[in-house]
């Protein structure tokens, strides 16, 4: 057989099965980063339990030269380093795939599959021979299998060694034994195994100037660049690392070198109610402030969000969504907070949402949210999710224009007050529904007002007059229309000029190019729209009205985006078919395309002619 002809380059899924707390993460990360440095597009997915130590954890890397890096079912190469999960790990390997395991002890008969290739490496035995210290042996186990993989997959060994040197810079005595462990694994593989496999990597230049980063890092960094000075938060997976990123970069860039004083304040609050309260208190005083949370925290913040909406106070909330309801699956992803975020709090409330899809967009939307909150004097909620927030993926680099100025919105200073006749906080001077605000302490005699969650007239005086109340609520509606013109519009691709349109948002963007290709191969060509914000602007409804049939892909059970589109746009729901995945893993291209194809088959909708089905 011509082996070369069957070799699959830069297109496979490797999954590492480890025990959490065993130090596998750094070795696995080195594996992924080395491939990234070879110029190969990839995405990393951590599948971890809500636990500190001792439970199974998986690290999955999808490698794909075309850039299809959404999650894909099935594993091509399983690095099975956790005996506890052998059964399911062996099960998940695709027929013809590979299982790399430690054969210091034989693989139990019941786990042996005839249709996959078992690659046994006696890692424990080798380590026993080479390293005296038991602790070292445990750590180097991960490095040894990395060495084995470098030979099996034909990785650039120099890049790998270089990564060891960089990652242990400052702890130089660790470099040598780590490289030794790498070499032990590599040499063993070269001597005893057939290398490389028929799935392997080769250098390419498909990465360009992209970076490999997680969304929460982008979010935290965006808040630094956007000028946030106050962060109040309560720890919750999967949002915590966004605050940690803010703190890391603020510590690096916001400490006055002369005085050592900080140009920011971070408070770990007692709960999410307090976090959002602090953010609102700071926003009321003109400081840019944000909090980060996940679903349960969003629920707790509801009352305050209603206050900020009604009293018109800037506030930014990053919600890194996880699987609900209730505690749900805290370490799994979902897009299920749309409704509770959009309409958080009692009474007639609605909130501006920004929905990023990439780490770069996380960065941009963080900075943008602070501008929008100040401009619109209202809460802005960014809806990220665990898939985006906590997993490293390829992203366009972060960019910043040094000429950019923060938009602080309509704030009247002392001189402005001096020049004005009578200040009215809730007047609508420009017809855009947005009043002018003053900050506490501005002027000795003018501009002070009482902020409240109760109804008030244009001059901020308490009122129970139906006319004043209605006028105020209507002004808030005008402001809502203004918001629709300011939020980022959808990303639209109408190049197919199709009768069919596919609507998606957030991390569904990752598998989308692959899903489109799969559909196209079936004679189904779609126009695409990625919704990026709420309120929906005119472009969103134009796209819907210009297509006969639409598919809305969501990672929740209740078709939440569809509900919002139908309600806000008075649409006929029949025009909108839902594609819903909500199992807690990220949605796959295969799932999207097969669901859409199912609709076509069930309804006998016509496909493109000339495609052989």
């Amino acid at each position: 057989m011509n082996r070369e002809a069957q070799t699959r380059y830069n297109d496979f899924v490797v999954r590492f099965a480890n025990v959490n707390g065993s130090g596998s993460a750094s070795a696995n990360n080195m594996f992924a980063k080395a491939l990234f440095r070879m110029g190969i597009p990839l995405a990393i997915r951590n599948l971890f339990p809500s636990n500190i130590q001792g439970l199974p954890t998986w690290f999955e890397v999808r490698i794909n030269e075309q850039g299809y890096v959404g999650r894909r079912e099935g594993v091509d190469l399983m690095v099975a380093m956790n005996a506890e999960t052998y059964a399911e790990d062996v099960e998940s390997v695709l027929p013809g795939g590979y299982l790399l395991y430690d054969n210091s002890k034989p693989l139990p008969e019941k786990f042996v599959r005839a249709d996959i290739n078992n690659i046994g490496v006696p890692i424990a035995t080798i380590l026993l021979d080479e390293f005296q210290d038991a602790k070292q042996r445990a750590l180097f186990k991960n490095v040894v299998y990395l060495g084995v993989l470098s030979a099996l997959l034909n990785m650039d060994f120099e890049i790998l060694c270089n990564m060891v040197q960089v990652s242990f810079r400052g702890k130089d005595r660790l470099i040598k034994p780590n490289i030794k462990a790498l070499e032990i694994g590599r040499n063993y593989a070269k001597k005893n195994l057939h290398c490389p496999l028929d799935i392997q990597v080769r250098p390419c230049d498909a990465v360009g100037d992209k970076i490999l980063v997680d969304g929460n890092t982008g979010s935290g960094l965006g808040f630094v660049y956007g000028g946030a000075t106050v962060c109040a938060w309560y720890p919750i997976t999967p949002s915590t690392s966004a605050v940690e990123a803010f703190e890391k970069y603020a510590n690096r860039t916001r400490i006055d070198p002369k005085t050592g004083q900080r140009n920011f304040a971070i408070i770990q609050a007692e709960d999410e109610l307090a976090s959002i309260g602090m953010v609102i208190g700071a926003g009321w005083n003109g400081a840019r402030s944000f909090t980060a949370t996940s679903g349960p925290g969003l629920s707790l913040m509801s009352e305050f969000l209603g206050l900020a909406y009604f009293a018109e106070i800037p506030a930014v909330l990053l919600d890194v969504q996880r699987t609900g309801p209730s505690t749900g699956m805290p370490t799994r992803t979902q897009q299920s907070d749309l409704l509770s975020a959009a309409y958080a709090s009692h009474g007639d409330t609605k909130h501006v949402l920004l929905i990023p899809s990439t780490p770069r967009e996380c960065f941009e939307f963080s900075a943008l949210s602070l501008d929008l909150a100040d401009r619109l004097q209202t809460p802005v909620i960014i809806l990220s999710d665990l898939e985006l927030g906590m997993n490293e993926t390829l992203s366009e680099p972060f960019v910043w224009d040094d000429a950019r100025k923060y938009d602080r919105g309509k704030v009247l200073d002392a001189q402005g007050l001096e020049d004005s006749e009578r200040f009215g906080r809730y007047l609508d001077p420009d017809g855009d529904g947005i009043g002018t605000r003053t900050l506490p302490g501005t002027h000795p005699t003018k501009g002070a007002f009482f902020t409240r969650g109760t109804s008030r007239d244009s001059y901020a005086a308490y009122t129970e007059s139906p006319e004043d109340y209605v006028a105020n609520m209507q002004r808030l509606e005008i402001k809502w229309e203004t918001a629709a013109k300011m939020v980022p519009g959808p990303e639209v691709d109408q190049s197919q000029n199709s009768d069919y349109g596919l609507i998606y948002f957030g991390t569904t963007a990752l598998p989308m190019p692959e899903a489109v290709a799969q559909l196209s191969a079936e004679g189904i060509n779609m126009d695409l729209m990625r919704v990026r914000s709420f309120p929906f602007n005119a472009d969103v409804y134009d796209f819907i009205s210009s297509h006969k049939q639409l598919f809305i892909v969501e990672q929740n059970r209740d078709a939440q985006l569809k509900s919002m589109l139908v309600t806000e746009g008075s649409l006929n729901p029949e025009k909108l078919c839902s594609v819903l995945y909500y199992g807690g893993l990220s949605i796959t291209a295969e799932f999207i395309s097969s669901e859409v194809i199912g609709y076509f088959e069930n309804n006998n909708w016509p496909r493109l002619s000339g495609v052989n089905l």
Binding site: G227, T229, Y249, R262, L273, M278, A282, P444, R452, T454
Partner: protein, 351 residues
């Protein structure tokens, strides 16, 4: 509901303070609370204290939660911004205010329902965080706006207007504040202006978190025989320990005290806090003693009032966090944004 606006005219002989302002310049709008409500006396005391301290009346932020007490920031310091937030959450909004603008004088007004029930968690944590502010609780032991239910500070056995006794143990916010590390703790009575006004002045000048629990009778629902928060009961059971007079550095100290009865504490701004001991066996700088003393007196039905504890070396949240002395709200792009060059370095770290 109708509102009568206050006449702006004032008596020509009203005393002017250092800023050339009189007491009326520190007032707010007309109160809508019940006639005789203790809370109005507290508002009046705040007005007087701020005026006597000659602080600019617009340089305050007044934050409150929900309830009768929380309406009161409308009724004093009308030239300052106020924020009537949500029930039990005044501390978090006050914290955010202080984080954003540390240059404002911060007054939080809360009630016993607001602080001891729904907001007990936020109360505890703002004490821990040492936000530089005056935190006043108008404590009447009852829910006024919802017509007279017991609050969590209501004493066990104290009766409602209909004669029903309260079955549960009270929460003593003063004891809690002491336990949680507050650096200025006082209790007073809305009917005792002579005691309350100096305490508010001292609290406002305290460079850290200052807590005053003011027993403030509810004339509508908790001022009857059988209540332990009525005017009559508090007057009969008030046990004053330490009176505090804030002597501004410009003032000559003329009052004469017997030796051993007084103690002067120099404040950071150079003014002097003069403590007069009204009880020989009390030391307001001993946290442990204060706690014990208050509980011992409570056991025999006495309400200890006065300056209960002070730590003159107090620090605040900003000192602990080492934040810049300039208000964070005033910082602009030049300080806050690291710029494109730094960003490209950061990008490189992800390659």
């Amino acid at each position: 509901m109708t509102f009568v606006s206050k006449p702006a005219v004032h008596h020509p002989k009203l005393k002017l303070n250092e800023l050339g302002l009189n007491r009326r310049d520190y007032e707010g709008s007309l109160s809508t609370l019940c006639a005789g409500c203790g809370h109005d006396s507290v508002s009046a005391a705040i007005t007087l204290a701020c005026s006597e301290l000659s602080l600019p009346p617009h340089r305050f932020a007044k934050i409150s939660g929900i309830g009768c007490s929380s309406k009161t920031p409308s009724y004093f310091l009308g030239k300052s911004h106020g924020f009537n937030s949500v029930h039990g959450r005044m501390p978090s909004v006050a914290t955010g205010t202080n984080l954003a603008n540390s240059s404002l004088h911060l007054i939080g007004v809360s009630g016993d329902g607001d602080s001891a029930s729904i907001g007990l968690g936020q109360f505890a944590h703002i004490v821990r965080r040492r936000i530089n502010m005056l935190y006043i609780v108008d404590n009447n032991g009852t829910y006024g706006l919802t017509k007279g239910q017991f609050s969590a500070t209501n004493d066990q056995g104290s009766t409602s207007k209909k004669g029903v006794p309260n079955l549960y143990a009270p929460i003593d916010l003063v004891s809690m504040a002491l336990q949680l590390g507050a650096t200025f703790v006082a209790r007073s009575f809305s009917g005792d202006k002579a005691q309350l006004v100096p305490l508010i002045k001292a609290a406002l000048m305290h460079p850290g978190f200052a807590f005053i629990d003011v027993i403030s009778p509810c004339v509508a629902f908790n001022n009857h025989e059988g209540s332990t928060k009525s005017y009559g009961y508090v007057r009969d059971h008030d046990s004053q320990v330490v009176a505090a007079d804030l002597v501004m550095h410009r003032d000559e100290i003329t009052a004469d005290y017997a030796p051993g009865e007084r103690e002067d504490i120099t404040m950071p701004d150079g003014s002097c806090l003069r403590l007069r001991k009204l009880s020989a066996d009390y030391d307001p700088r001993d946290r442990l003693l204060a706690s014990n003393y208050i509980m011992q007196k409570a056991a025999i039905g006495e309400i200890v009032t006065g300056l209960l504890y002070i730590d003159p070396a107090a620090s605040d949240c900003h000192t602990i966090m080492n934040t810049t002395t300039q208000p964070l709200s005033e910082l602009d792009e030049s300080v806050l944004c690291p710029g494109a060059t730094v960003l490209s370095e950061i990008n490189s770290s992800f390659r």
